[in-house]
Symmetry: C4
Amino acid sequence: MLEKLKEEVCDANRELVHCGLVVLTWGNVSGIDREAGLFVIKPSGVSYDDLKPSDMVVVDLEGKVVNGSKRPSSDTPTHVELYKSFPMVGGITHTHSTNATAFAQARREIPCLGTTHADHFAGAVPVTRLIGDKEVSEAYERNTGKVIVERFGSLDYGAIPGVLVAGHGPFCWGKDAMESVRNALILERVAEMAIKSIALDPNIQELPGHISNKHFDRKHGKDAYYGQEED
Amino acid sequence: MLEKLKEEVCDANRELVHCGLVVLTWGNVSGIDREAGLFVIKPSGVSYDDLKPSDMVVVDLEGKVVNGSKRPSSDTPTHVELYKSFPMVGGITHTHSTNATAFAQARREIPCLGTTHADHFAGAVPVTRLIGDKEVSEAYERNTGKVIVERFGSLDYGAIPGVLVAGHGPFCWGKDAMESVRNALILERVAEMAIKSIALDPNIQELPGHISNKHFDRKHGKDAYYGQEED
Amino acid sequence: MLEKLKEEVCDANRELVHCGLVVLTWGNVSGIDREAGLFVIKPSGVSYDDLKPSDMVVVDLEGKVVNGSKRPSSDTPTHVELYKSFPMVGGITHTHSTNATAFAQARREIPCLGTTHADHFAGAVPVTRLIGDKEVSEAYERNTGKVIVERFGSLDYGAIPGVLVAGHGPFCWGKDAMESVRNALILERVAEMAIKSIALDPNIQELPGHISNKHFDRKHGKDAYYGQEED
Amino acid sequence: MLEKLKEEVCDANRELVHCGLVVLTWGNVSGIDREAGLFVIKPSGVSYDDLKPSDMVVVDLEGKVVNGSKRPSSDTPTHVELYKSFPMVGGITHTHSTNATAFAQARREIPCLGTTHADHFAGAVPVTRLIGDKEVSEAYERNTGKVIVERFGSLDYGAIPGVLVAGHGPFCWGKDAMESVRNALILERVAEMAIKSIALDPNIQELPGHISNKHFDRKHGKDAYYGQEED
């Protein structure tokens, strides 16, 4: 069932290690088949070294396991909420990567300080509010997803493919599982640069809009000219 | 004698290098056989590259060498004290990993700033007092263990599997040697995130209890649902 | 066409990864054949792993593609401007390396704080002004080159083989493609040291001229005695 | 001539790369044969990858090349001064490692903040004064050695096997070439910990003498009990 997607999602989870984004079992990637209304996600607490496509768990958009012998990631209900509210998203990555998590712990958004950021995120990477006591006790992981969606109320999730959950860490997304991993890597690098720039100038200003817009548009706008033409 | 435990402890010591937690001979791991009342520890000052199970030293809970041709780690009496006072501990790791040691040198506990920390440590990672002059001259390594135990007076060593010895570095523990290494890795990563979060906000607040408790409980509480059910 | 140069430029682009200067496709290297008036540059948005000499794109000094089936790097017009204005330059490297970019984002030059810097750059590594709104909309990449050239008005590009584009990142150059990569690596290391030195002393002073001049001269002056005599 | 020493010194130079202490050609190691009154040193500006024992250069204590077809390191006269003034030294390493150099550039000694430092250096790692204008123009590299020796006027070079040359970087030494490399690695790690501890507490206090002396003595004192008994 969904064998090709399981392979993609397994590869994307293993890529987390190659990119230096996770140690131990601190992260998970999922990918969705929109037609089937099902997504594939990493099993909970399983080492990346041992991960095989057949370990992947298939889940429906109610969060029910449809296929697979292992428990899905404990963050599965967060993925469910994001897939339901962000219909163009094809893959989701959650990590505790060091620099992005440092911002999440400081409950501080990552301002757009340079073109590296502007190439990939149209504006600051937002930080959610802290999740409330009742939200935790009722349905922690589901409400984590809802708090993210709430934060994107007036923001475009297509142009800002990631968020910092306050006191927790980053969630990123993309058109498929592997692109969500790439966005998690970009976020981590952008966060590291931002920490260092802020150390060099605590009163640092954001990149002016005429530059940041140009960079985002040349990669993602309708007349984008970065990369090769797709066949 | 204790051949299987020697293998485990040897592997755990070598894992210190793979995790980037030590250079040269800056660390040691031990593991205990509670029934036999004996533990196995790295020999002093021997390179991790050359380490073989047969080099491991077997020590009793008086700190006397029972088996092995090499001197045990100079920190052996600290391990003895911890095994005697923390009866549920099966393995102990000591390192001088950079970020955890930075906190130990600053004599500052690591506050719980995020869920990465809360997943593994129920509260701040404590720092001991400085060891006194007489304690050093009488029995330095043994008293290092006693100072750790003293610090845990009202703390639960089962829920906080590590400590910073002031001016020195971290000691971590777990149900066996390898888990103590994992906890040392977690502590190092958590310390790095904390240093960066504090740089971003010197007045940073701890994670509220309703979130940190949830994270610790979903991994370690009686209704834990993280990971796979054990067979 | 220019087969040997394509190999050199391909190797130099791949070296960016080995040196840890880029992830994903965040950088590009070019090399010029001054006699032919043509340069060879990385194709846009292609992974370094897959890069072959035959993927390289040949461009003339008007920025027109002369040979190659792929689109050249989107930064090609910046390379054109630098080759036209800096006639002794044989290779150019652009990266978003973390520490150099941190300075670029803080819009702060890298002061000469030590002999590592002085060995390779005769004075501070300058930072450009921010590019203007009209300059962006008219010809962003070309004007990025012009802003760099403007910044070198009274500076010697032969003695300072690199620059920080404000809010963007570093461009470096050298006698050929590989030397420009080496200069990008040096710049990144020098930037990292400078960030740490500034953290240790926010009022740090530049290295006195009698030392910095000596270091630059012993490597690059007419009586240079560093390295081996060239055959 | 001195074939075995050439091998040792070649290995020690290559170890600089394995330890992450150098990039490009930013470092050099030498080792001395005290009976012969000759030392062996890396050739200037040669890549570590290509380094063979036969490339090593033999130099006498006047700094004259006695054997070898390549130019010795440009820092050779500094090594000469150290070998002449520090008669128990058997090997010398110079690097531009990032964290130690950050202290050298800030012209700040590395205070003894913890037992990692105390295990290897009896007190702060000193920083020299800046070398003067006339000293540079007369004999820069030789006078760099003299400035180091001057700094050790009342210090014990046997108990503090390294120094920071102000505005430049570290020189370390030991009983042979490889031990001097190990001391350079220790210095780099100790410097990194110190930068982070100082960030956590700008008013940090040095480790009390009763602890630092204990650590140095248990490794280096007459009743040392760290490591294995030597055969």
